[in-house]
Amino acid sequence: MRWDFIIEIFPKLLRASVLTLELTIAGISIGIVIGLIASLMRISGIKLFSVIAKIYVDFFRGTPLLVQIAIIHYALPVIFDYVPVAIVSGVIALGINSGAYVAEIFRAGIQSIDKGQMEAARSLGMTWGQAMRYIILPQAFKVSIPPLGNEFIALLKDSSLVSIIAVEELMTTGRLIMGKTPLVAEIWFSVAMLYLVMTSTIAVLVNYVERRLQIGDSSQKSA
């Protein structure tokens, strides 16, 4: 191992890691918004909405992210005649893709809430929307935090795929350095370590949030 080389490329890789993190955070944020809308459409009981949501979820979970990135960055600009920006295409692809997974996470979370909760809320005169907002979603969201954390980690790793459209995140930066040097092992082990540090940190954070929320649940307090 050439440690001096690792130290030399490290600042560059670190900056690229920040971009990887930014892409992932932007992606999951879009994903949470889309996922929430899609999950509500799915369970709305309105046929048209639920069919649209199902087609969306099935398409983006049933095709490779790499292909989705290619469609968004290469195919759509041809169809709609515009000049794509790689980083925008990347964020959109990650967001729409994770939205499909998040939709299923929220749907499972919502369906795990006892149906007596909805009945109690409705019996008090709340509309479906109010019952969702004040009663069902806060509980469903709490249940959804561990799988959302997993989705965040999965998305961070999948963000390496945007390297095919030359967004200079961690993976692309590794490849660019590789073109100029024979020290291949140093590069890829460093890249792997940086991914590992990021995913482990997220795992710890999710764990912490999860424990904090359980306290509000009072199960700890009464113990």
Partner: protein
Amino acid sequence: MIVVRNLHKKFGNLEVLKGINCHVKEKEVVCIIGPSGSGKSTFLRCLNRLEEPTSGEIIIDNIPVTGDKANVNLIRQEVGMVFQRFNLFPHLTALENIMLAPMKVRKKSRKEAKEIAEELLAKIGLTDKKDAYPEQLSGGQQQRVAIARALAMKPKVMLFDEPTSSLDPEVVGEVLNVMKTLAKEGMTMIVVTHEMGFAREVGDRVIFMDDGCFLEEGTPDEIFNNPKYERTRAFLSKIL
């Protein structure tokens, strides 16, 4: 106050309610008894349209409950419901459970809602538990909070769906006492119950329900001491 005409409810091919007619006066306490599966809960849940009636007509406080034009949310504001399994909101404290609907549905200010909630907690004797989450309360306490939650909407009618059936025997009394107070204050109540003592003491009228029909109704004295039908007698002899 409540008028029900020829109410039918089918689940698929199963007819659970077979043409119910019923009239409940203001301030009346009606207790519905009968074997499980006879349609008692379904009847109650039709009254605030938690179940969709298959046919028939329901009118509460001169507002039609059935029909396409009925505003379900408006009716539910006037009809409180207490469930067998409490259904308190686990992510909210006792106080917040009671405050939520007045704030979001009746558009009361936080301060007003808090006053209403604190008054009700005092009434059910749980002022010291106002910041407790449902999990930290006993079954009896949870059900009392659930009653307070329904009362916070200042409903004109209260529906009780077997409110003591999932409680430990030693806390049944505290819930029944709250209900008795409510009855004395003149609340119009329909109570599905297996507590014959309560029906006898508090009920103005007792209805025996069997196989989707109101088989027999009358004063507690008539039903418990002098039932007309063999079915009623058989049921009572098993349960008393």
